[in-house]
């Protein structure tokens, strides 16, 4: 992804952003015996729990033993490859027209607070007219105890000029031992949104430098403070 930043000296530029992800979990299998993961049909439409309850009542075990009504020999066991999403109405029928989409807001207690028409929110990390701005600085040791960081995007240069610029930012932040809050939008106060309707994140930029001109610019993303819900035991 591309990010457009402006530094403390009001110099803006574009940089490359790459999410940092942990190594994938080990694959499962058996030594010396190739295995493959498959998703398959375990029941046909007439064999789901709801349908069996409808046909035989809640205690349908005897019916299963007597006649295997849940097994459709034509379908059960068939592998499922690629599929398309379809919507089913509340009565279980396929919808042939696009459903109406509403946005439902629920409180921390899980109770619905508001139901509204959703509004698309565009991404704001690559806007020439509103580059991402640097704001308040936090000591790294304090920030990691105040916010929960769950994602990190590494910012890298794509040209020699960008190298000088980004290395300079990293060096300055590392020297101060701080992370700087990054914000987007026209006033430079909005959370970072990486794509249309994406999650809004608070972004904190950390810099590291090492010998031979090496650097790391890490944009740590947070969407919550390190705090527990009210009413939970202390």
């Amino acid at each position: 992804m591309k990010l457009r930043l402006i530094n403390a000296a009001n110099r803006d530029g574009e940089a490359d952003g790459r999410s940092i992800t942990p190594a994938p979990p080990p694959r499962l299998g058996q030594e010396g015996r190739p295995v493959s993961f498959r998703r398959y049909l375990a029941a046909a439409e007439g064999g789901t729990h709801d349908e069996l309850v409808h046909r035989f009542g809640g205690d349908y075990a005897a019916a299963l033993v007597a006649g295997d009504p849940e097994v459709d020999m034509e379908l059960v066991g068939r592998g499922i490859g690629e599929t398309d999403t379809v919507f089913l109405s509340s009565t279980g029928e396929v919808m042939y027209a696009a459903p109406e989409i509403v946005e439902i807001v629920t409180g921390p207690d899980g109770v619905e607070r508001e139901r509204r028409t959703p509004v698309d929110v565009a991404g704001n990390v690559d806007l020439p007219e509103a580059p991402i701005r640097m704001g308040r600085k936090f000591r790294i040791a304090d920030a990691v105890r105040q916010f929960l960081f769950t994602r990190t995007v590494q910012i890298r240069h794509t040209s020699g000029l960008e190298y000088d610029w980004l290395h300079g930012i990293a060096k300055e932040l590392a020297g101060e031992g701080v992370m700087v809050l990054l914000a987007g939008g026209p006033k430079g106060r909005d959370p970072l949104v990486f794509q249309t309707n994406g999650t809004p994140w608070r972004g904190f930029l950390e810099g590291r430098v090492a010998d031979e001109g090496r650097y790391q610019l890490l944009l740590h993303l947070s969407k919550m403070k390190l705090e527990r819900p009210s009413g939970e035991p202390a």
Binding site: S19, E45, T48
Partner: protein
């Protein structure tokens, strides 16, 4: 009795009850819901590519099979390394004393934190003092036995002064130098960040 996180600090063991904290519990959540003509929520289903079957909830199962199509029970599966060799099993750390080690803030930042636990317990005064002073500690963590352990970080929050365990997997950044250029856009791996509206 629920299993606990048991930490060892300077030869003293302290047990913590723990509970997961997520954003929805703190701030609530927003979600987009499709409605049918009567204003009731729709459900999603999958249509096979040949259009012959609508796969509804409860109609599928999944598992591992050998080349002959024989199902392999999960209990017979093991984690394999890149060369196909079995990995040693990593046992659960719950209920087992694990040693605390001092960690740097950057050590925590070099992990992709996936789970946040609020801790309830009475740590020794010496440990509490160091946490209040801003020190961070790390310890091995594995919720259930599997093939890869995780790392947890013990911190005292400055937001509410409570103790938390942040559990994650190593995800360090890479050093960049003048000669290091990112691959062209068409060679970049898929962006795995999930920025879906929640």
């Amino acid at each position: 009795m629920a299993r606990q996180i048991v930490l060892e600090f300077d030869g003293t063991e302290v047990a913590f009850d723990f509970s997961a904290v997520d954003r929805a519990k703190l701030y609530g959540r927003k979600r987009r819901v499709p409605l049918d003509r009567s204003g009731q929520p729709c459900t999603r289903a999958a249509l096979t590519r040949d259009g012959s079957v609508i796969v509804r909830a409860g109609m599928t199962a999944q598992g591992f099979f050998d080349d002959a199509g024989v199902w392999i029970p999960n209990a017979e599966l093991v984690g394999l390394d890149a060369d196909g060799r079995p990995l040693p099993k990593v046992e659960s750390t719950l209920g087992v004393p694990v040693k605390l080690e001092v960690a740097a803030p950057q050590d925590l930042l070099d992990h992709a934190v996936g789970t946040l636990y609020a801790l309830v317990g009475t740590p020794p005064a010496a440990l509490l003092g160091r946490l209040e002073a801003g020190e961070i500690f790390r310890f091995p963590f594995n919720y259930r036995a599997d093939w890869r352990g995780e790392v947890a970080f013990l911190v005292q929050s400055t937001a509410d002064d409570m103790l938390y365990a942040l559990v994650g997997k190593p995800a360090p950044g890479q050093w960049c130098s003048l000669q290091t250029m990112p691959p062209p856009a068409d060679e970049q791996p898929d962006d795995e960040l999930d920025f879906e509206m929640f």
